[in-house]
Subunit: 303 residues, 2 copies
């Protein structure tokens, strides 16, 4: 099995300047805070507004991060695209720059491609990239993408490309599916798509998690991961889940950005790229009240 | 109202060479056949595998078609993209080259953007392009895209950008929605997304249709459009629908390509780009038997 990554990863939120451009400087600063808490960087995930970025923007941001000293082996950039040439371009760059892996959505426009069609897509992709450094994590998020990876398709891809198909992020919101992956593919890099059952999943063999709320709660989630087998794991899990529940009452990306903006006293952080929108002021106030009520504070260095 | 297009348009199937590249020469030849039957060119629609092409490929194909003498005012290229910069690039090119319009999917990854988010996307898009030649047709196909244009959103966009938002392709498979558009937005360019009720829809004010099967049945569908009010319209409609029904039993794009390939004795036409796959031989044989049984033949010039 090809997996070499483990631990807690954030689908890193992408800052946008007031003119709408992606903001490499703020992204680098946020990545440094995440890394300082031992949280890896799944840039360009769903919660990164990754699908609102062009291929060229993603390639430029990968380069900006690495050029700023962010270690590529702690990065798992989203490489999903509807068009095969776009996926090839992204995966080739991720491999060339030595990223730990690529988080690979299936092509998500045509909903009835089926396992044979998806297998053909990934076979074409992997062969076109032709780089032994490429490691892919299959991003299974059917509630958003409308297309997913069946267990049979995972098995076909692992068998055909054992050194490439390193693992998965399972955002199916179906614990049974995650458990089935862990059972059927021992040694595979299975990352549950959120932390709500992290301690139990790690005890069952999950290698970590890739979860939105890591952007604003990395220290606690990393501690939970490290202490998944400890006596107080249930208490830690409950505290982590209370934070997630608070954020989940609001549009998640906008809510996280509102909290980051407030902590840094930097309103630019509130921006999202259309079609997603910033959290309205009244909801931001309600969110911060909710968070205060559970004793949560976000205090990144420099804020 | 900004609409200047009418009649029958094909979401032109995109040929792919055996090496996987889009094939401009075969595309040009197919477009010439469609134009010779007075059928317009909605290149890069759903049935064109439009979302399997990169932005650069689409721009290159638009240029290749126009450079080959295809009149741009008969073209309505798909301009949809999940990422705003991609949609801006495509729309800017479509406007610059004088295309009759752009067929604009909503950004389709984030399913809960809502009317406000989609309005913000199109406002940003139209203002970023900043070209008075831009005409957009809102592509409403929620069964595939997972995101659609509500009637209220259409109204907001028409009111805000009356010279740009020229019409719609309604592929909702909901005739009530099409009729509601025709009633609420008189003079708007409403194209039903298939021809199965074309005669009645034209009598209700639809300006034409944009339908997959035009790729293989343009002459009959154009005749039906022209004779929508004739005494024999019901007979014409029934014959056209029988052909569509035959194709609809199979994956539509693969089926149309199989028929085009056979007519030209050119197996390259059978290729699809992953994640979509060619029609298997047994299904191709069954399809051709079905078509023969209803007296259908596809005989493009040169075949």
């Amino acid at each position: 099995m090809a997996n070499q990554l483990s631990g807690v990863f954030a689908p890193v939120v992408t800052p946008f300047r007031d003119d709408g451009a992606a903001d490499a400087d703020r992204l680098i600063a946020h990545c440094r805070w995440l890394l300082s808490h031992e949280c890896g960087l799944a840039v360009f995930g769903t919660n990164s507004e990754g699908n609102s970025l062009s291929v060229a923007e993603k390639i430029d941001l990968i380069d900006a991060l690495i050029d700023a000293g962010i270690p590529p082996n702690r990065m798992m950039p989203g490489t999903g695209a509807c068009a095969l040439p776009d996926a090839v371009a992204l995966c080739a760059h991720v491999a060339k720059r030595g990223c730990g892996g690529g988080l690979a959505l299936p092509p998500f426009y045509y909903k009835d491609a089926g396992d044979d069609g998806l297998f053909a897509f990934f076979a074409s992709l992997i062969e076109a990239v032709g780089d032994e450094r490429l490691k892919l994590y299959l991003y299974h998020i059917p509630p958003v993408a409308g297309v997913g990876f069946s267990l049979d398709l995972c098995e076909r891809l692992i068998k055909a490309y054992p050194t490439v198909v390193a693992g998965t992020k399972d955002s199916s919101r179906d614990d049974d599916n995650t458990r089935a992956m862990l059972e059927r593919f021992p040694g595979w890099g299975v990352f549950p798509g959120n932390e709500t059952d992290l301690a139990a999943m790690v005890r069952h063999g999950a290698v970590g998690t890739i979860s939105a709320t890591c952007n604003v709660n990395a220290p606690a989630i990393v501690d939970l991961y490290k202490h998944a087998a400890a006596d107080d794991a249930a208490d830690r899990q409950a505290k982590v889940n209370a934070v997630r529940t608070a954020f989940s009452r609001y549009p998640m990306i906008a809510a996280m950005k509102a909290v980051i903006a407030k902590a840094h006293d930097d309103p630019v952080w509130r921006n999202l790229r259309p079609p997603l929108l910033p959290l309205p002021d009244d909801q931001s106030a309600a969110l911060h009240a909710d968070l205060e009520a559970i004793g949560y504070t976000f205090a990144p260095a420099g804020s």
